[in-house]
Symmetry: D2
Subunit: 324 residues, 4 copies
């Protein structure tokens, strides 16, 4: 399914793995400040923050999987099947469809704090983009340079959770995932002392034994735990290459390899792309399953005052550098 | 510590993660057919198969971490602390030092079968390369296009194991690691039926739940299990980019991220490089912790009939491709 | 902390482990039909079903830990710290204190169905028995010969859950515990086929390997999983000794041994008593940590039309039968 | 399969669970000092230490499952399928058959130290008791008031291991079982501090969470770990009832419940009996699956200078003590 994380070094980074068994022709898409964002039940927005992120563009509309705006506010939608629940229109609410949710927030807010203001008025309404594009059952992580939150619309209504782990995966609901971390509180990158029994001389036969008990399968609970442990104990330099590099190393600790996660149709789910956006600089980095070289698009090299989308198709071929 | 694997698609691939807390200035090093391999207690070899692999070159001697010869026979040394035991010289044996072991085998043998012939006569003798370079406690995986074996010299003598898992990590001894896989026999990339109880309606809330129980920490037993499961269930296309790409995806399932595996000195062990050598074509691919782009060196683009080593220093800077 | 279960063979059984670090002088206590049950905020009850169960009797009031009434309806209170929340009096509700909850339900209802009727009107009110006896943070399992439910009063209000697992332990909330069972769906008393890899010959070196992954520690989540697995796969004869025996074997799969579960005060929590009540016959069986012989009290051997409590102190000395 | 343990308080205790899917009509059997022990390949023994233990008696020969002699030396045979290997007669050895092994050692030795002396000369020879009673594949734990050892006869010969864990289960070989304990070194009866991440406030929601990771299934590796952890952290009083009681609590932490461990024939393996022998006093205590009351036989109440076996059939009916 998917995993998203943040990483704060000198700059601030937001990104995700997209894990699916099909690709949709996504591209790195920049929405400039004067692109007209049309909405079904709330007023259209003509002037707004610019966005960069991964999207499929349908009928000139950027359907973002994840995006960051020029202020650094970032947002990713992740699969939340059987739990996500979207509602009928409500009179006293901002009725925003899930496919409009990322544009609605990122075009207007420069921080999580501001996003919380909009969230207080939102009803995620059950309206498709089109008959061909039904809604996906999603939940969202929203992050800025200070904090992350998670937004889940379930049969109990809209829940907004603070996210001190800085990680989101998929099912079950976020409060369960956070509670589940309690069960791993003894894990550590350091090998701890023998507390099993003082009368046995138990051997540290390998580095890394302090992490024994960390799950390594690809289920969404296991990826949540592993990504949280890896992110929270990560150590890296603060330069751009070191930060971006470490970000991808964390994401790849929960990568889905082809063949390891069978879907109901007999196909295999795998990590189609991994992304890392520098919130401060507006540079969107990504790798794909097929191409491990990092490709980058810098939003500030585009005309952000324009009105039309710019889309960079994914570089999906392995870029091998031969030395001879 | 380290992990090595093979992968067979149309071609055959061999490689490894090198996990340490320090680097030694290693380079991709080609030894041509007429380079004089000097040995301490066995006769020098003047004419032999050529080799490509990762080595540090000291006093014009290639100290290989892993290498492949022109016939495809491949070999990697992995850390085996407290278990590895090397012996005094024995009169009736080929007394080969551990640092000479990869040259000794790869210069003379074109297959695992031939290597087994030499192994029957070998005594791994406790002689340093120099006072400054004491012996590392290693064990080895040797692979060709058909099979893999593991060689361990312990206080019980030299053990040669068939390796149907196609994986090697570190401690404990190989027979323990293989036995331990029995405990994971129920794992699967597929989600299996509910056998806990027919009277409960247990939900498949995530893809990948068939793998629950797979360890995800960085200890050597856990890496062995995870790498074996990932390798044995891997699905990939047979082209060179697909095969090489999948090879690195498998290796990176057991990558060590900086900060996650603390060494005794307070430093962090991490995956310094990951390699993948096409046994059939003699192309050595690698990535480093700092540079996720694949770099490659092709042995057949060098003069293999020469007498001097060729070394390509590692490209260790992140190679980001900017699209704008 | 505690675990409660049911078991249905020919007759129906309900019981629990009481796990604490202190004892309170509890006794098997029979409340006859005409004992006056006084309540603080709801009308007293003079004529009612008779009860048998484990209680401490304070000021002639039976504070039941668990009890069964003459119709078989059974109820146990289990520790639910930090989650249990009891409320101020509410005008439109039956304001029952937690310490009155078992008498209130068992004196009036002959089935879970009837209990659900009362539960719809209940507010668990935050009123102590006395200053010396503050309320414990509890949740409850209620069972009859057909089904079980769980009642939890948390900050979100009163939750009533169907309980198809027939087990209750402690934290976290019941819906989490049930969800968590999904992670164990592949476990089985039977050893399943090798799905790890067809290319490895993985050995069934022990019976019982189908259960690998079942937790064995004494935390409340682990006891819930283990008790559920043991109960749901239990096989027993239908006679009274076989049924009662099997019941205790299930309970003892999650027993707390002295020394294994340290409390905050440095004392050890252990299984003070284990109980098994035949719902149909009104016979209350128990063992204590100190005495493994089953002791029994039959409610129908008492005058159930009386007005005074009958209490049988626990037989707490090991009853060893010497053969010579 | 089976589990054996020792426990030292003021006195010293030795015992085991016998886990099988069939019973053999075993009885508590006392062998007095002048009973003629016949052996096939070594000299018969007429005068020797007396023994008490669980045995089936065939043709007046006590086939002990476990026994203790009048000096306290104790010994139990446990299933070791596919690993146990018994040999042809060897000229320079004491050729003892596995069924004679317990009599051979316990009739002659008063300590583990003395037993080690005999073990140095033993060849466990592949000779059946009779065609109807082929040899079982066993390994053995031998204990006195100071220490325990394990004896395994495998294809590599006879191995004698010191056993600081004081526990034996079944497969795999003892050195593997001991090594495997290294993986559990962080477990503790105490809840340790949060080392997962200082930036998360992880909650201790249950006592006993320090043991998370302890296995609870019935496979022989899991029983070994759980029994070792329970035994080594056990806390008990030193009186006879407390010591014996605690001994059975430890054993029952790895009891096999009916229905939970399916054998190849579709039958269920379960704990047929649990035993605890006071090494110092020669009192043999036991419970059976059907009868949880402790039954006892005191060897010193018999004529230990006699020549004939005394056998007490098991009390296998549940002994319920009714209070009314």
């Amino acid at each position: 399914m998917c995993t998203s994380i943040t990483l704060y070094t000198k700059d601030h980074y937001f990104g995700r793995n997209l894990d699916l068994d099909v690709t949709y022709g996504e591209s790195v898409t920049i929405t400039p400040r004067n692109f007209l964002f049309k909405f079904q039940k709330v007023p259209d927005i003509q002037n707004h923050y610019s966005l960069i992120g991964m999207a499929i563009v349908v009928d000139n509309y950027p359907l973002y999987f994840d995006a960051t705006n020029e202020k650094g506010l970032s947002m990713a939608g992740l699969n939340f099947p059987e739990n996500a629940c979207f509602f009928l229109e409500k009179a006293d609410k901002d009725n925003v469809s899930p496919y409009e949710f990322i544009p609605w927030i990122l075009s207007q807010c420069k921080s999580v704090k501001e996003a919380k203001g909009l969230l207080a008025k939102i009803n995620l309404v059950n309206i498709n983009f089109s008959d061909e594009l039904p809604l996906s059952p999603l939940h969202w992580m929203i992050s800025d340079q200070l904090q992350s939150i998670v937004v889940e619309s379930t049969k109990n209504g809209l829940n907004v959770y603070d996210n001190p782990a800085g990680v989101l995966a998929n099912n079950p609901a976020f409060d369960f995932q956070m509670f589940n971390l309690n069960n791993y509180r003894r894990l550590s990158p350091k090998v701890s002392e023998n507390t099993f029994s003082k009368s046995l001389d138990l051997n540290v036969y390998s580095r890394g034994m302090g992490g024994i008990g960390l799950p390594g399968d690809l289920s969404s609970t296991s990826r949540f735990v592993k990504a949280a442990f890896t992110r929270l104990n990560s150590v890296s330099g603060t330069s751009e290459p070191e930060s971006v590099g470490q970000f991808f190393h964390i994401l790849k600790s929960v990568e889905q390899q082809k063949g390891l996660c069978e879907a109901e149709n007999g196909e295999y789910e795998y990590t189609i792309y991994s992304s890392c956006c520098n919130m401060d600089k507006g540079i969107y980095y990504y790798t794909t399953y097929e191409n491990s070289q990092i490709t980058a698009v810098d939003m500030h090299k585009e005309d952000l005052d324009g009105t039309v989308l710019t889309a960079y198709p994914l570089v999906n071929e392995q870029q091998i550098r031969f030395m001879n």
